[in-house]
Symmetry: C2
Subunit: 361 residues, 2 copies
């Protein structure tokens, strides 16, 4: 195959073509520096401009006021699972966790291993994580409430965030950050591994509010405390420069090409709507998430049997539609349709699904 | 400036041009996948081939036997400063540290903050870290001896590693890994942030021997214990794929273009020799490191006064020679001449230094 495919991978995932083209075009000579972006010093004005632009764009897109710090940390969301309790839970503190699937479960495991106090205040495990819990009773003494906004594996998503009685929400938004506007008032910290909606793997964006930073533990190794990153503009040591650079270009694309988060959300609703409507219109394919919890980012679906699912993935790949296999832990099929997935891609997928159904019904 | 400069940055630093060209050429369509390397799933055969090739090449180049694991971890050498005591020092254990400059000092700080036991068995701080200590008395009960093989800021380097009476050496080789062959018998663990001799920032290579892994603490957050990376081929979570990919290409370049580590070392000796010989031949420039400790990777030097040093850096930049300013903590000048720096670059630098001297003597 010599052309680009329609990429439905769950992450690393599709990036906007024009971002990739800009990286490619300037790869040997970034901004007339005579160097590749991978060769430029992080202590140079070239890179200062990049990281500051990325921070500014993130702040504008999410309408963040001066209380919020935008940080870049390595280690993905998985390191955040550990850093959050490490920074916010002292011996007598406790936190609330809502368990909506694999990623929440992993986040909880990292509190457990540190022997910190926590309560799982809600879980959708009883129905195989096919829904987002509602009417949750939060603890009154929790330091934070931890949520996973979107569940890539089970295909569910918080469409509204719960009222936590003023307890700050700490939220893993790896798979839906910048896919819609957010009311940031509720959030004390949000974090997102870049490789779904933001850029390449290897960089994690963390947005932390000043009051959370003020109560974070500073008696920790330098690379494991938020204060290190906040006080040094994420450059205590060499940051993941290529990742930050790509994120900057993606945010520029959202802001200048897509028209901001309201427009981005409209587009995402349109894309997911087309796909869900098609699936719901027949009985050959069926979605796995409950109606009110369906994700706009990851459309998980099943076919009549597993043999057909295997064939579906093989034939789709042959037809230039990649990454449609469900997560290895659940099977089935999944179309990850993050920001950079195009309507053209969704149309091609629906068309393929129609013809596959006809041939295999 | 529209052409590429000669890049003497200390890190991120110059990468081999042919590596950059290969990345650029395949950036929109990696190995006919129809995706960019930044869009390919880390659970795909595309990426498996990349990471396995990188591991195999590292093993061949360093002649590692089956006891050694090659891992990719995020967070740079700075996270290793913390992970090493976290993994290897239990309550009653102790470790020896040799302090040869800024990076060793930072490594020691991260043991201190964890309230672990350690002894600084040697330091060259008495002479502004201008030399590598010799005849060191190591503790008999140390779990490991920590060294920094090359000091980018002070321009010194271990040319021979000390006899530690069988205590495994844990070594930060961020700035000279793969610049020369190594007798791996002495080392229990070596680590290197990629952005000097290996690739872009955001990936750290860790080579750990099985007996070290066997004694590492497993009662830690997943992302902070070596066993997680060793048991999952560095893919417990999404690894820094672009970094691993670039490292693979750099290792391929060392192996196939430069002819392996013996040849690489010869080339590095020739490059550094040319530069040191020129500096030593006159009195306008002077090196800062003691003769027997001079680094083959970072040539630190001074001019008659600070005004001339400033002018030198400005004029060099105008002449297409970048990154010659000394580290902000010490001033002066520095030419970082890692593997990817070419003899052509050294010749251009020497030529410029000659003419600058004539004009400003």
């Amino acid at each position: 195959m010599t052309e680009r495919i329609f990429n439905f991978n769950a992450g690393p995932a599709a990036l906007p073509l024009q971002v990739l083209e800009e990286i490619q075009a300037s790869f040997l000579n970034f901004k007339q520096s005579g160097m590749s972006i991978t060769e430029v010093s992080h202590r140079s004005s070239y890179f200062d401009d990049v990281i500051n632009d990325a921070v500014d764009r993130a702040k504008r897109l999410l309408k963040l006021d001066d209380r919020f710090h935008v940080l870049f940390i390595q280690g993905g969301a998985s390191l955040q699972f550990a850093m959050i309790p490490m920074n916010f839970l002292s011996k007598d503190d406790t936190a609330d966790y809502v368990n909506t699937g694999t990623w929440s479960t992993k986040a909880i495991k990292e509190v457990e291993v540190q022997k910190k106090n926590y309560t799982v205040v809600a879980s959708s495990e009883d129905k195989n994580f096919s829904y987002i819990p509602k009417n949750i009773q939060f603890s009154t003494n929790a330091k934070y409430v931890h949520l996973t906004s979107n569940n890539t594996i089970k295909g569910t998503q918080f469409h509204e965030f719960p009222d936590t009685n003023g307890i700050p929400i700490v939220c893993d938004m790896s798979s839906d950050i910048f896919s819609r506007p957010l009311d940031m008032e509720k959030f004390g910290l949000i974090y997102a591994g870049a490789q779904k909606n933001l850029g390449p793997s290897g960089a994690c964006m963390v947005i932390i509010r000043q009051d959370m930073l003020d109560m974070a533990n500073v008696d920790l190794p330098s690379m494991l405390k938020y204060s290190t990153y906040a006080s040094k503009n994420s450059m205590y040591n060499t940051p993941p420069c290529f990742g930050v650079y790509t994120i900057d270009l993606v945010l520029k694309w959202i802001e200048e090409e897509m028209g901001g988060l309201e427009k981005m959300e409209e587009y995402n609703i349109k894309k997911a709507g087309l796909l869900y409507d098609f699936i719901d219109s027949g009985s050959f394919y069926r979605t796995t998430a409950q109606e009110d919890s369906k994700s706009l980012m990851n459309v998980t679906f099943r076919l009549p049997d597993e043999e057909l699912e295997k064939l579906f993935v093989v034939k789709a790949t042959e037809n230039g539609l990649g990454g449609l296999k469900g997560h290895r832990s659940v099977g089935g099929c999944r179309a990850s349709i993050y920001n950079a997935t195009t309507m053209e891609g969704i149309n091609a997928l629906v068309q393929f699904m129609e013809s596959f159904e006809k041939e295999n019904k």
